[in-house]
Amino acid sequence: MIKVTYIEDNGTSRDIDVEEGTNLMDAAVDNLVPGIDGDCGGVSACATCHVHVDAAWQDKLEPMNETEDSMLDLTDSRDDSSRLACQITATAALDGLVLRTPTGQH
């Protein structure tokens, strides 16, 4: 288990225990984290699992592939910290990761 913190746009913060190997969209849905829908079930097809990754963590993540990069262009508030939560898999190296859900994503 690792700890991942999801922070909503209104500041509400939730610490979730995530089993290694689980993607961070599934973990959010399982734990009723608002703002992460995961409409396509985690196959980079919907971009409803957009999150902003805290600066300190960005280079600890696997780089994104072309599909993820393109799909993020569909979101309103894309910036350098943007990722699709379904494409981030929980690993020991990510223990303590902090993610923010974008404003207006629901």
């Binding site: 599934d26 849905v29 399982d30 009723l32 409409d39 396509c40 079930g41 196959v43 980079s44 097809a45 919907c46 072309e66 599909t67 990069d69 393109s70 799909m71 262009d73 569909l74 629901h106």
Partner: protein
């Protein structure tokens, strides 16, 4: 007195309606009645990872049980609605109980079209729509099994792909000259035919199934109009979906290839709405009616229904999109290509990365993007905003896909 919204059907559209009702501020009672025994689940993995046992069952559920508790939504699972009295605003369930409503939502989806040829009841013959369908065939789904897929649509081809990956010997029967004829241009059909052939799948086009004979020991023989006799331990039929409209029709609600709804997802009867695969709805972007079978449509119509129940007067105006995963190929479709008079291909099919733009009188209707997510994204913008495109630029690979929007 608090109001009650009842939703019939626990698929993607039904589950979304529950969630969106609370998001839109609905404070009344929510009851979802579903004939399948499971919590609402996602169907797309049924013809992909889940069929091959690559995915845990828990992962299929759209939301965990605790979610519906938190929303204070009541789920009545494993029981069908049998009749509706629209005057009394009351439903009768299969178990004889009744349920009254102030607003009613049809999210009844569809059921598979079945074979009618002789031998169609052979025990090797299966269909693919529900978790129960997958569970019924999973024991036979193992390496070495001969699988015959009837119908070269997306569900049939996805089943063939995951089966080939797991070592089944796969044959596909397709009535038309190429697979996917109903939804894509011949080039896309030919492309999928070739990637299946490369994976060792045998695809028989222009071939009709005439009858099924029993070969004994659980093996079926598929007899075709071309005189072939194809043996299979497992037959998966994917020849289309019939919208579940009978309950609505019997209650006097207008239906025509689906439950007829207006742009607010309202049916012809007051206080009754419909969402998802079961609707025949108007699309303002294409200025025509359509019935779609896609997750996106089910979700967006669920949202539309919820908003309108909450008095928001929100019309449904979405560019449809869809995806299909086969082998290393990710197809993303945006728009509806119906009525196209020109196709423009960007990139080379041989490279397993190309996009087909479907145009009508020079206007972009739809795109099939094959391992081309950037083209999918840009096309979604072009179609949503009704922007102009130039054929020369679409074809020109020296122009970055993102810049096609400036054309």
């Amino acid at each position: 007195m608090s109001e009650t919204t009842v939703i019939i059907g626990g698929g993607q559209a039904g589950a979304q309606t529950v969630m969106s009702l609370r998001r839109e501020g609905f404070e009344g009672k929510i009851v979802l009645i579903a004939d399948e025994p499971e919590l609402p689940y996602q169907r797309p993995p049924l013809s992909k990872a889940y069929l091959a046992g690559e995915m845990a069952k828990d992962r299929l559920f759209i939301k965990p049980a605790a979610f519906y508790d938190k929303l204070d939504a009541e789920l009545l699972l494993g029981v069908a609605v049998e009749s509706i009295d629209t005057q009394k605003q009351q439903l009768t369930l299969k178990d004889g109980s009744t349920q009254s409503y102030d607003q009613l939502v049809f999210a009844t989806g569809g059921r598979v079209r079945r074979l009618t040829c002789s031998g169609a009841d052979h025990p090797a013959v299966h269909y693919l729509r529900t978790l129960g369908d997958v569970e019924a065939m999973q024991a036979r789904f193992s390496a070495g099994t001969r699988l015959a897929v009837v119908g070269g649509g997306y569900i049939g081809l996805e089943t063939a792909a995951i089966a080939a990956k797991h070592g089944l010997q796969v044959t596909v029967l397709e009535a038309q000259a190429t697979p996917l004829v109903r939804v894509a241009c011949p080039e896309v059909g030919q492309f999928f035919q070739s990637i299946h052939q490369q994976a060792g799948v045998s695809i028989h086009c222009d071939t009709l199934l005439e009858s099924i004979e029993d070969e004994g020991e659980g093996v079926a023989a598929l007899i075709t109009n071309t005189g072939e006799r194809i043996l299979a331990e497992l037959v998966v039929v994917g020849i289309g979906l019939l919208p579940n409209v009978e309950l609505a029709a019997s209650a006097g609600i207008a239906c025509d290839n689906g439950i007829t709804v207006d742009e607010h997802c309202r049916t012809s009867v007051a206080n009754i709405y419909a969402a998802g695969d079961c609707t025949n709805h108007p699309n303002p972007i294409y200025q025509r009616r359509m019935r779609l079978e896609s997750v996106h449509n089910a979700i967006e119509q669920g949202k539309t229904v919820a908003a309108n129940i909450c008095g928001k007067n929100t019309p449904y105006a979405q560019v449809p999109w869809f995806w299909s995963d086969q082998y290393d190929v990710k197809l993303q479709t945006v728009g509806i290509n119906m009525g196209y008079d020109q196709t423009v291909i960007r990139g080379q099919p041989d490279s397993r990365s190309f996009a087909v733009f479907y145009l009508q009188a020079g206007r972009l209707l739809a795109v099939d993007a094959i391992n081309r997510p950037a083209e999918f994204v840009v096309a979604k913008k072009i179609i949503t905003q009704g922007l102009a495109v130039s054929v020369d630029r679409l074809q020109d690979e020296t122009i970055n896909a993102k810049e096609l929007v400036e054309a």
